[in-house]
């Protein structure tokens, strides 16, 4: 690490124009002083683009934390729960704070990968809205402190689609052929298909899951693309007209195109909660808890919510938000609507694998095709390799013949 520090010093490009953020954090500074001057560092693992980082003159959360506590933050990011899970469960890395989603938290609790939090070090947990206590992924609330939440709904272009869009059915509308986008991950895609059929998306009934796969296969010819973050460009440039997406992503997109609308299906939908946890392997649990406490400072939680466009579960931070966001029915739907939403639950590894394989079947397409494509491909490859080999040997022989011939004459 010292090497890196030297290197840092060598790079003239590396000019941090200190934003000079006088920390207005009105907190009991007492608990943050504990580790000052000890040169401790903690490893934080969060989703990408999910924490205010000082661009645009906003709060730089990690820097402020370092200033306040003297604890250095090694901040790294991941793109999916599964990626994060693979790292933590492999045991090759030690993280002190991680921010997984609901179903992953319940899985990690059941696999004993998370540590029980000591809430004496997280007094700010009291800022969290009461309805986020004891959710199904962490019924006792002992392992996690909610960080951000949102819902899955449908975003559509109101100029192209005149009629009322009410639920996920519109994603199967034949009139919108080739203008529909769909999630590229199996969990969200199956949840939508199951909900469309009126089943629970946490179902463990394989019959129902297979029927959902049938729906997704039917939808495939209507879908323009299965997307991750390409949804931004495609929806904003009106290349596609309708797509399922997270509420936070919808809000961010609507800043770029005023014709976009977002609806929560009246038939109910899924809700995600990402929450801060401490892995059991952490050796600096108390420092990690301080960090979680810091995330729940109203100013910090507010800055993070504004940066990520997601909804904050922190009541005091919510009160600090600008009026138009506070009143947004997209970010903060009414309680009745929320009653109709559920979080994902982790069924079992086997079930997850089953759904994943069905999803790959949908994406790869005609089963009739892939029965012969691979064998034929392999046969062609083998034939090509043999041909090349034979030709080379022949060529060599001919060459040696020529040499032999020339030496004779």
């Amino acid at each position: 690490m010292k090497g890196c520090a030297c290197f840092v010093a060598l790079i003239p490009l590396f000019i941090f124009l200190s934003t000079g953020f006088a920390a207005d954090i009105a907190a009991e500074v007492g608990i943050y002083d504990k580790f000052k001057g000890q040169g401790i560092s903690i490893n934080v693992y969060n989703w990408g683009e999910y924490m205010s980082n000082g661009s645009d003159g906003k709060l730089n959360v990690n820097k402020e934390f370092e200033k306040l506590t003297g604890i250095h933050v090694n901040y790294t990011t991941f793109a999916s729960n599964e990626e994060m899970y693979a790292k933590i469960s492999s045991g090759s890395v030690v993280y002190d704070v991680i921010i997984p989603s609901d179903y992953m938290i319940s899985r990690m609790i059941s696999e004993k990968l998370l540590a029980r939090l000591d809430f004496l070090n997280i007094p700010n947990a009291k800022n969290v809205m009461p309805e986020f206590g004891g959710l199904e992924y962490d019924p006792t609330g002992a392992y996690s402190v909610p960080y951000m939440w949102g819902t899955v709904g449908v975003v559509y272009n109101s100029r192209e689609i005149k009629g009322e869009v009410d639920g996920f059915d519109a994603l199967w509308d034949k009139k919108l052929k080739r203008n529909i986008l769909m999630f590229s991950n199996s969990r969200d895609a199956f949840a939508i298909a199951l909900k469309k059929l009126g089943f629970s998306f946490n179902t463990e009934n394989r019959e129902e899951i297979l029927r959902a796969q049938g729906e997704l296969k039917k939808q495939k010819e209507l879908v323009q693309a299965y997307v991750m973050d390409e949804i931004f460009d495609k929806m904003q440039s009106e290349e596609a007209w309708i797509a399922p997406c997270y509420s936070g992503v919808a809000l961010a997109m609507m800043k770029g195109n005023k014709d976009l609308r977002f609806v929560l299906p009246s038939g109910g939908t899924s809700r995600f909660v990402d929450a801060a946890c401490v892995p059991i392997s952490s050796k600096k649990k108390e420092a990690a808890e301080l960090y979680i406490n810091f995330l729940n400072e109203p100013e910090v939680a507010c800055a993070n919510a504004l940066y990520s466009d997601c909804s904050t579960p922190n009541l005091k931070a919510f009160e600090m938000l600008p009026e138009e966001i506070k009143n947004s029915k997209i970010a903060y739907p009414d309680a009745e609507v929320l009653k109709n939403t559920r979080c994902y639950r982790f069924g079992s590894q086997e079930l997850g694998g089953f759904i994943e394989s069905l999803w790959i079947e949908v994406l790869v397409g005609d089963e009739d095709n892939d029965n012969w494509v691979m064998p034929v491909f392999i046969v062609v490859c083998v034939a090509a390799v043999t041909c090349i080999g034979v030709l080379r040997v022949r060529g060599k022989r001919r060459k040696s013949d020529v040499y032999a011939g020339s030496s004779k004459t």
């Binding site: 290197f7 934003t19 980082n53 661009s55 790294t76 890395v93 030690v94 973050d229």
Partner: protein, 265 residues
């Protein structure tokens, strides 16, 4: 004349094919909105933000750090082993070349997973150590393959001459062999830098909490949206590399002219 037009057109199309994506990227680094398809106005804001984004900067520095240290180590190791391989008997030479060939042919993902498993087995905590070791391991073969041809081109009697004149092996290496193979060494080093800079798969499996490389940071953004700050950084990199190549070519040209001037004069 007609033929010339055709070949010119071919070259133009080829260059367009190669550089259009980069030009689009550069153009959109000046786009006012976050969109990657809609042009909404000209701005330098992303460049400004890039300099204030600690997350991206630390990733960039991690990447540059690894892409400097690992190639240096790999070049030293690779050059030494290339010289070793060169002076082996015919049979062992072929075996060694095949063995060094394997990691190149081997899919990256297998290299990555096996390295991760090995580090875990040896109980080395993932971080800069593992990342650099991993990068060295996939860089060494490229260095060897750039150095070996230069060794083959070298007059093998040169070493004998040098030893006859009283050099020991170390002196032979530094005074005779190294100057001869230096272009190959440099090519190997630059290739290693290039591979280290844009490696994703191996880094994915071997990086730790303190050593996230830039490609991983960019990938992590895909859940929400890859920030245009990345466009800005890529543009800076592109211009930087382009100007380095330009300067190097000019220097080379000048030194050639000097040599020619001396010869004729």
């Amino acid at each position: 004349m007609k033929r010339k037009l055709g070949s010119r057109l071919y070259v133009a199309l080829f260059l367009l094919f190669m550089y259009l994506p980069i030009l689009v990227l550069v153009a959109f680094s000046f786009n006012a909105s976050r969109s990657r398809s809609h042009w909404t106005g000209f701005t330098f804001a992303w460049y400004n933000k890039l300099f204030h984004n600690q997350e991206i900067w630390s990733a960039i520095l991690n990447t540059l750090f690894v892409a400097t240290i690992a190639p240096i180590v790999a070049t030293v190791l690779g050059t030494i082993s290339a010289v070793g391989v060169h002076f082996l008997g015919k049979r062992f030479k072929r075996i060694m070349i095949t063995l060094t060939n394997l990691p190149i042919i081997n899919p990256e993902i297998i290299t990555g997973v096996s390295l991760m498993l090995m580090f875990k087995f040896l109980r080395i905590e993932a971080g800069f150590k593992t990342l650099i070791l991993a990068h060295v391991s996939f860089n060494v073969p490229y260095v060897i393959f750039n150095v070996l041809p230069k060794l083959k081109q070298m007059d093998k009697h040169l070493c004998d001459v040098a030893m006859d004149l009283g050099c020991n092996w170390v002196q032979v290496f530094f005074k005779v062999i190294l100057p001869e193979i230096l272009p190959g060494v440099m090519a190997g080093f630059l290739m290693a830098v290039a591979f280290s800079l844009d490696d994703f798969v191996v880094s994915y499996f071997t990086s730790g909490p303190t050593s996230q490389a830039l490609p991983l940071t960019i990938f992590a953004m895909t859940r929400r949206k890859v920030s245009p700050e990345i466009n800005a950084f890529s543009s800076i990199m592109f211009v930087l590399v382009l100007s380095i190549i330009f300067v190097m070519q000019r220097l080379e040209l000048r030194s050639k002219q000097v040599v020619r001037g001396r010869k004729t004069g």
